[in-house]
């Protein structure tokens, strides 16, 4: 089967620093792929290269048959990507539901003319409520994001990404900053969303949750891909153990 996303020999350089060095991997439709690695491994840079925040100096990113390299961030989103950012950034002046409804209205905000011609937002508000329900915070719909705890905002960020009806959902450390109970609940929500058919790339530091919900892992270290495969196999890879534990991996046994 043709992959949904293929990253081919992507290299990202910032001045003299090579943040990503010739990394390739694929994401199959319906998959929940974990993208992991120690701090500074290049995970977020990889995510940014996929979304278009940074431009690779070499290599290409394809979404199905579409080459993403020359597209702007917003065009990539309209083509079927959605990003849930590590630092939650809700629009603070509108309520939780309208935050999601804004994303659900991406067809109406495609061009200024289309946006000017549409006023009604009933349908988008209904879709928003549905997306909020999927991440378990429908009860917060009318609240202001200003007063919500991080756990709710993380879910809001995810609902907003879901409301774009993406082909591929990119989650950048959704569990960071949550306590273990909240993290475990949100990881379960992510697994449920994946089971409903959403293809997901998950960047996370929380390895126990990654091991629990991901079907496959890609491991980066120092900008290079050092392993790829089933979670248990990837984590048992000596190179991966070395990267995570540092020094002599055997000494940790």
């Amino acid at each position: 089967m043709k992959p949904l996303l293929s990253v081919n020999h992507v290299t990202v350089r910032f001045g003299g620093l090579t943040a990503i060095d010739d990394v390739s991997f694929e994401v199959k439709s319906g998959e929940l792929l974990g993208l992991i690695g120690p701090n500074g491994a290049g995970k977020t840079t990889m995510m940014r290269a996929i979304v278009g925040v940074v431009r690779p100096s070499k290599g290409s990113v394809m979404l199905e048959d579409l080459a993403l390299n020359s597209l702007s961030i917003d065009a990539r989103i309209r083509a079927g990507l959605a990003l849930s950012q590590q630092l939650v950034k809700p629009f603070r002046e509108i309520n939780v539901q309208d935050n999601v409804a804004f994303a659900a209205g991406s067809r109406k905000t495609r061009t200024p003319t289309a946006a000017l011609c549409h006023v009604n937002r009933q349908a988008e508000r209904a879709l928003a409520l549905d997306a909020l329900g999927r991440v378990g915070i429908a009860g917060y719909a009318q609240q202001s994001p200003k007063t919500q705890p991080l756990g709710v905002l993380k879910r809001l960020e995810m609902a907003r990404a879901l409301a774009l009806k993406p082909k591929l959902l990119l989650l950048d450390e959704p569990l960071a900053g949550l306590n273990s109970k909240e993290a475990s609940a949100l990881a379960q929500t992510i697994a449920d969303i994946n089971r409903q058919g959403m293809t997901i790339i998950l960047i996370e530091h929380n390895l126990s949750e990654i091991m629990r919900i991901c079907q496959r892992l890609v491991v980066l270290d120092n900008g290079r891909k050092i392993a790829e495969g089933l979670p248990r196999d990837a984590m048992n890879d000596p190179g991966v153990r070395l990267a995570y534990l540092g020094g002599d991996a055997d000494a940790a046994d």
Partner: protein, 280 residues
């Protein structure tokens, strides 16, 4: 009565001018310190066209097109700069406009353009036309606020990067705001030229840009009613208290400072807070 009519007309033109900047700065969050340039482009465009024999009413849409066209070019050039840098860039555009006009004999140079043909309206009819256009501009602004475009503008004003990540073509929307706002400024300028029958570069300089920005900020960035009210009060001030005329920049600058310090969302924001406090 004649004095009142011309005063109301002048106030109406200020309101239109302030509403035009409100589309760019108020709605879309893009600061402009050179908005008077577009007011000037509309004024010069309409004045020259009328002198060439074009009917006044026909010169209005053409002045809008001209100002909006220049607005689009400036907008395109400004897409890469944000916040402080955008402020400096637009300020530069304002100085550039005055500088170019002063040097161009065809545009009247330092002396400006006088003897702009009469629009063929009575003073009263001209006032009513101006007020009518103000109402249309206010209704249009209000409509934008409610539409999806208004939502996008709010989103861009609050967080451009997040708006992009939600699939919005941010540059295109910024350009739309620039084009609409500068076209409307051009319309206000055309009315100004035909109301006074005389224009000179001095009327479109930095002081005018600051004045209109004061109206938008003091009224409450983005609030149509607030900006309209501020434009009325601030354009009446120099007529009511002649000393304000001499110290215009000082008074407006002082007001701007007070607003930024104590109520960054303008009088509208202060009122809203006072009302919320009263209900409690």
């Amino acid at each position: 009565m004649e004095y009142e009519i011309s005063l109301v007309t002048a106030v109406g033109i200020s309101v239109l001018f302030a509403l035009s900047l409100n589309l760019i700065t108020g709605f879309c969050g893009q600061i402009s310190l050179g908005h008077a340039a577009f007011f000037g482009i509309g004024a010069y465009g309409s004045a020259l066209l009328c002198k060439m024999g074009l009917p006044f009413l026909l010169s209005l849409p053409l002045a809008m097109l001209l100002a909006g066209g220049f607005g689009l070019v400036v907008g395109l050039a400004s897409l890469r700069v944000r916040a402080d840098f955008l402020a400096i860039t637009t300020m530069g555009v304002g100085f550039l406009f005055v500088g170019v006009v002063r040097q161009q004999e065809r545009l009247g140079g330092e002396m400006g353009i006088s003897g702009i043909p009469d629009a063929g309206f009575s003073k009263l009819a001209f006032m009513l036309l101006t007020l009518g256009l103000c109402v249309v501009a206010a209704l249009f602004s209000h409509y934008i606020r409610r539409s999806w475009m208004g939502q996008v503008f709010n989103a861009i004003a609050e967080d451009e990067d997040t708006t992009r990540v939600l699939g919005v073509d941010v540059p295109r929307f910024k350009l739309a705001a620039f084009a609409m706002g500068t076209a409307l400024a051009g319309l206000a300028g055309a009315l100004y030229a035909n109301n006074l029958k005389f224009i000179s570069p001095d009327s479109f300089g930095f002081v005018e840009s600051m004045t209109v920005l004061s109206m938008v900020v003091i009224g409450g960035i983005g609030s149509v009613a607030g900006v309209t009210a501020a434009a009325i009060v601030l354009s009446l001030l120099p007529s009511l208290f002649t000393f304000v005329g001499e110290y215009k920049l000082l008074v407006y600058g002082g007001l701007l400072f007070l607003m930024m310090r104590f109520s960054p969302d303008g009088v509208t924001g202060a009122l809203r807070r006072a009302m919320a406090h009263g209900r409690r």
